[in-house]
């Protein structure tokens, strides 16, 4: 029984009560992943499992058995920031930074979802591929709260990366 975390095999803890968030932070010291509410309401603990965004606070580590987890630490490559990280800096996409790792993990998966044709509640025509507007970004990122109110910068940063991806 093991999870692949940022490319490394990690044994599943013996006690099934250990959440994925606690495994990451307390045992592996991957403290980029934050715990805000510990009850699914804020998104600070967002990580990727097999490329999809999930909440690590509501995931038991044992549920991730055999799967690949990517945290904010695994998103940047060879010491250079992920394009979303650079864009968040450029557009003031944070103040205290507590929600930021979750925002960036969520945004990375969100952009992939849009490219794969994932609709959202505000997509006008479910039969068409959604075009990423500010309204679409806000809806698709609504699972990540920011207590500092940096949302305008967050939306701008994400839209910029989306534009560069297409270019």
């Amino acid at each position: 029984m093991a999870i692949r975390i940022n490319g490394n095999e990690v044994a599943i803890p013996d006690d099934p009560r250990v959440s994925l968030a606690d495994l990451l932070r307390e045992q592996l010291h991957l403290t980029g992943t934050k715990i805000g509410c510990n009850q699914g309401a804020c998104g600070a603990c967002t990580v990727l499992i097999d490329g999809e965004r999930v909440l690590s606070c509501l995931t038991l580590a044992v549920q991730a058995d055999g799967r690949a987890v990517t945290t904010i630490e695994g998103l940047s490559s060879e010491g250079s920031p992920h394009p979303l990280q650079s864009a968040f800096i450029e557009h003031d996409g944070f103040q205290c930074g507590y929600c930021t790792p979750g925002q960036i993990c969520a945004a990375a998966a969100m952009l992939r979802g849009v490219a794969d044709g994932m609709p959202s509640y505000v997509t006008a025509d479910l039969g068409e591929r959604a075009i990423l507007s500010p309204e679409e970004v806000r809806e698709r990122m609504s699972g990540n709260l920011c207590r500092c109110g940096a949302h305008n910068g967050i939306v701008e940063a994400i839209l910029q990366v989306a534009k560069e991806d297409v270019a």
Binding site: S19, Q39, G40, L55, L60, V62, Q63, Y121, S142
Partner: protein, 328 residues
């Protein structure tokens, strides 16, 4: 959290045998159950992970869909056949929770998620007949903005919080169950109980039964359908009221209609009286108002949610006018 052990059976037979054992609880995505265990509302001794069971979405002969119990909410919402034939279902799922939670949540878990009533979720300091039968209900005289206006009882006015299930109710979904006595299919309309004097009994499932799939029949009403949710913030909040509606029109009259409401009752509420009043008649605001008056004649709002009666009438009219309006 009290200690528990974890099992992951490979077949629904094994899962059902385990589910029949004392203290055993099935685990889907865990987005509700893990939270309730942490809050001390649920204390299973063993979690039986059923996410290895079918998550396929299959088109049935003669139309209709069979959705495996372990299908993720996001996979159902994104499925091309769901988007094309049952847009209200896609839209309802997408209106619920967040993308992260929809990626984790399973269809069966969504059906069986527990109420978000603050008193149910607060074992340390609140009374709740659903959590602890006979202890009383603090919602009756407490904060009941999110509570039921239809179908409640003097012992419980908690709502079923799902969005997905409101669309499933309008679509006449059938629930496939497996247990030690074999398999059976229950219409969703007969799946949930109303609280009466036993609010802790929420469904008609037997001990040891589990959900294996949800079947959605082919429906002419699925195509021209919509879901609208009204909430306290624009996204990532539970419904104050929600409306799932599907219609078929002929020569300007409503040939047939499906209507269900969320956020207002202990179970997703199928509006049979309003449907009957509207079927065969004109799609006018007056007809809609009269139909809603009939449906809501028995509404019993609490002090904090009387506004829901009017809100639901207006939301329903808005959705129906949009669906029945000119489009050739």
């Amino acid at each position: 959290m009290t200690p528990f052990s974890y099992r992951r059976p490979a077949s629904s037979m094994d899962a059902s045998a385990l589910a029949a054992l004392k203290g055993h609880k099935l685990l889907g995505g865990g987005t509700n159950l893990v939270d309730l265990m942490r809050k001390g509302v649920e204390h299973p001794t063993t979690l039986v992970d059923v996410t290895a069971l079918s998550s396929e979405i299959i088109e049935m002969e003669g139309g209709g869909l069979l959705i495996g119990a372990a299908a993720r909410n996001s996979a159902v919402a994104a499925h091309p056949l769901v988007r094309a034939h049952y847009p209200m279902l896609s839209r309802a799922i997408l209106a619920g929770a967040s993308a992260q939670i929809r990626n984790m949540a399973t269809v069966a878990g969504n059906l069986l998620q527990r109420t978000r009533c603050a008193y149910f979720n607060d074992p340390a300091a609140s009374r709740c007949n659903k959590r602890q039968p006979g202890s009383g209900c603090d919602a009756l005289e407490g904060f009941n903005r999110y509570h039921a206006i239809l179908g409640g009882s003097p012992g419980c006015i908690a709502t079923h919080p799902s969005d997905m299930c409101v669309a499933l109710m309008a679509l006449d979904a059938q629930i496939h169950l497996a247990g030690s006595a074999g398999t059976r299919i229950v219409p969703l309309a007969d799946f949930y109980r109303l609280p009466g004097d036993s609010p802790h009994l929420e469904t008609t499932m037997e001990i040891g039964e589990l959900i294996t799939a949800v079947e959605i029949p082919a429906s002419a009403m699925g195509q021209r359908s919509a879901y609208r949710k009204v909430r306290d913030r624009a996204s990532y909040a539970f419904a104050l009221v929600s409306v799932a509606a599907g219609v078929s029109m002929q020569d300007g009259t409503i040939e047939d209609i499906r209507l269900a409401f969320g956020g207002i009752a202990p179970r997703p509420w199928r509006a049979l009286q309003a449907e009957a009043a509207l079927r065969g008649g004109p799609a006018t605001p007056e007809a809609m108002a009269a139909a809603m008056d009939a449906e809501l004649a028995v509404a019993r709002p609490a002090a904090g949610n009387a506004f829901k009666v009017e809100l639901l009438k207006r939301t329903t009219a808005a959705v129906l006018l949009e669906l029945t309006g000119d489009r050739s």
